[in-house]
Amino acid sequence: MTDLWPRIEGLIREAGRGIERPARYINHEWGCTYKPEAAYRFCMTYPDTYELGQANQAVRILCNCVNAVEGMAAERAFLPAADMCDLMRECGIPAFSLESCAPVAEFDAVGITLPHELAATNVLEFLDLAGIPLHSSERDDAHPLIMAGGPCAFNAEPYAPFFDVIMLGEGEEALPELLQLHRSMKAAGASRADILHEMAKVPGTYVPSLYEEVSEEEAQRTGFWVRPVFDDIPQTIEKRIWEGFAESDAYEPTIVPFTEVVHDRLNVEILRGCTRGCRFCQAGMMYRPVRERSADNIVSAVCRGLAETGYDEVSLMSLSSTDHSQIEEILRRLNHALDGRGISVSIPSQRLDSFGVEMAELVAGGKRGGLTFAPEAGTQRLRDVINKNVTEDDLFGAIDAAFSAGWRRCKLYFMIGLPTETDDDIKGIASLAQRAYDRAKRAVPENQRGNVRMSVSCALFVPKAATPFQWDGQIAPEEAQRRIDLLRRSVKYKAVDVHWHEPDVSLVEAMMSRGGRAVARVVEEAWRGGARFDAWTEFFSLETWRRACEECGVSMEGVAQTQWDTSYAVPWAHLSAGVTRKFLERERKLAFKEKTTPDCTMGACSVCGICPTPYSGIQTQEVRHG
């Protein structure tokens, strides 16, 4: 493979201080895997800069999986920062991988994870920089296989034309399967078309070029917006679940970056899946069933990982770590093992209803920065609608425990624009936050009360595929702004500050979340109009997206805001997270009746469709308590 490093190094030196953070591009980090002799080469990509993507779990896991295959090597690639992209284009240097600094276009296959709805234009920026045709239909045998996966695969239609293959669900087994299929068919001289057809038969694999769009009328009649062009590929693609997760080693080879990145610590995945069943939450649907790794596995993985990386912080990762049935044991054992070494153990997400005095003590670890809780809604009524089963008592109990144990700062996450929301619910957020602040102050010695800080962070509700609220439209940005202003007026305490997400950005997110293949045309038009790094405030431009929508004859508001009846066939009906449509419909009905559904790992099975027989897919180490 071509070594681009001499040219890239030259470019960086020439540019001097004109290129920010050159450490993004140098690789050679501790913990890198080099397999120069491997004949089949895979390039795993995160569609944003190094500092945002390096800690990404999918990148780490899938590189390790592919490197474990005989004769295969995986390398990482990230999108260079905007200044570097422009300079590379000027000098004719294509997008490159890190480990061997090889052009991305020289790889056998390229995998791009789709982490959120604003990464689409970056995908195109990356493909363009790599010199790879943007459309699957324009690629031939000289081009690598372009694959996608990750959360956005559950509504993949806005990305459909750009990818040869889209993988649904967990890739630990599926990715090596597909790559080995690719390798053997290529060796046998098979054509690209034949390879894609064969791949479409592999469970969990969506090959968009083999599914044609149908008319609106046919879509609503049959229930599907696209139809397979062959009889031997499925109408519905079901996500892959890696059955071996719980038994597998929690220790993963980890790369230690030189430059500062987000989540720059040892990340150990302790559990997968969350069945609390919050009705707005796509992750809860995408990753079920719940599977826990054992305390022994986790404790040993943390100790080994710290020894091998030299990190001073470890995070026990999952969607809801305090729900792990052995979490207290794990924290106790880790605090003991790491005592006196200046190493902190953190938990990214704590459930309010499982955060009590004991947890507060255990998660201490010396560094008491800020705690984050997510009540999501300001009134019990709305919390019941969204099935976020936490009460005010849970919140205040957690605050008592945390602030008595030494915390001083707390961040509360809420959402604005949830279905059935009224102004009372918005005022409820202010009331809850202020009462939480009062409670926090009471839990703290008088001379430290001035240090107590409470902050409220509001996201705008984005309806997501495979959730009970997938048929609900997003509220208009003007209405969102009105509610934000109402919230700000309602929060009287100076010590409680309010942050919110830009409604314009959320509008584009909602269009990407709910769109069909027509939105893919908008994505391309937006990119051609200059859109990239949309998740960065300094780059996002609603104007560019609006112009793109006009060019393509797509109504942004129409896609994002239209309220659909539950009988409406959604654009992603052919892509399944394993939960049934009936389940989603039932959950939505219950939402509007303000009735809650319990977590099946602690209560009755909610018949979501994921387990072959009730509870059979769940793997917890011990009994879970609510």
Partner: protein
């Protein structure tokens, strides 16, 4: 507390020349942990490793004489500590010597105010001129520096360079009021001389030393 202070001398070379001082500090701390050295930890609410670094090196400047001091709670023979560190280090950030400090020895960041740099250039070094003053921006304010105050010596021409490369060597003194960065000085010299297409190929700190006893 009877901490043992180990001073480690290391190289900063190759691609890792592009690391900033903070990035370097972070990388070294991690190497110390990987080496499983019994490092001391500060007391208090947010315990962290007791490690101190030498004078900062800008992005793009390499070195064969960087230092850090790490406090250990137990005595590990210096050679063994060095070997453990080397096994845990990236090749371009390689420790090459280690010794324990005597009581009262100056801390890493202030012990060696004089730094010697060797520079490889794309044009003959004697084509460059040192300007009278250099304007730098510090904390959004413009500040005027006089190179003569910082430059202790300067030698033009191929000295230790191989194969006819153009080498320039100079010594800079870090003052209490501030320092003149070697890369800033070179950029100013290139600009001042007006030589077309003059490029700095590499800058390497080759020595750090204390102020001389006599001028």
């Amino acid at each position: 507390m009877a901490d043992f202070r180990l001073r480690v001398t290391f190289n900063k070379s190759g691609r890792l020349g592009m690391l900033s001082h903070l990035e370097l500090a972070r990388a070294l701390e991690r190497a110390v942990r990987r080496a499983d050295l019994p490092y001391a930890v500060t007391q208090g609410f947010s315990p962290h490793m007791k490690i101190a670094f030498g004078a900062a090196l800008p992005v793009g400047v390499e070195s064969i004489c960087e230092i850090f001091d790490v406090s250990l709670t137990e005595y590990v023979p210096a050679q063994e500590a060095l070997e453990r560190l080397q096994r845990a280090s990236a090749p371009d950030l390689m420790p090459r010597a280690a010794r324990y400090l005597q009581t009262g020895e100056a801390a890493a960041s202030v012990a060696f105010p004089i730094s010697r740099y060797e520079v490889r250039l794309s044009v003959p070094a004697n084509a460059l001129r040192v300007p009278e003053q250099i304007v730098v921006v510090r904390k959004k304010k413009e500040k005027v520096l006089h190179p003569a105050e910082f430059i202790r010596s300067m030698r033009f021409g191929a000295e230790d360079g191989q194969g006819g490369e153009c080498v320039l060597a100079f010594e800079l003194e870090a003052k209490k009021t501030g320092s003149l960065r070697p890369d800033v000085l070179l950029d100013a010299m290139v600009k001042e001389s007006g030589v077309q297409d003059a490029r700095v190929l590499s800058i390497v700190r080759t020595e750090q030393r204390p102020l001389s006893a006599t001028v």
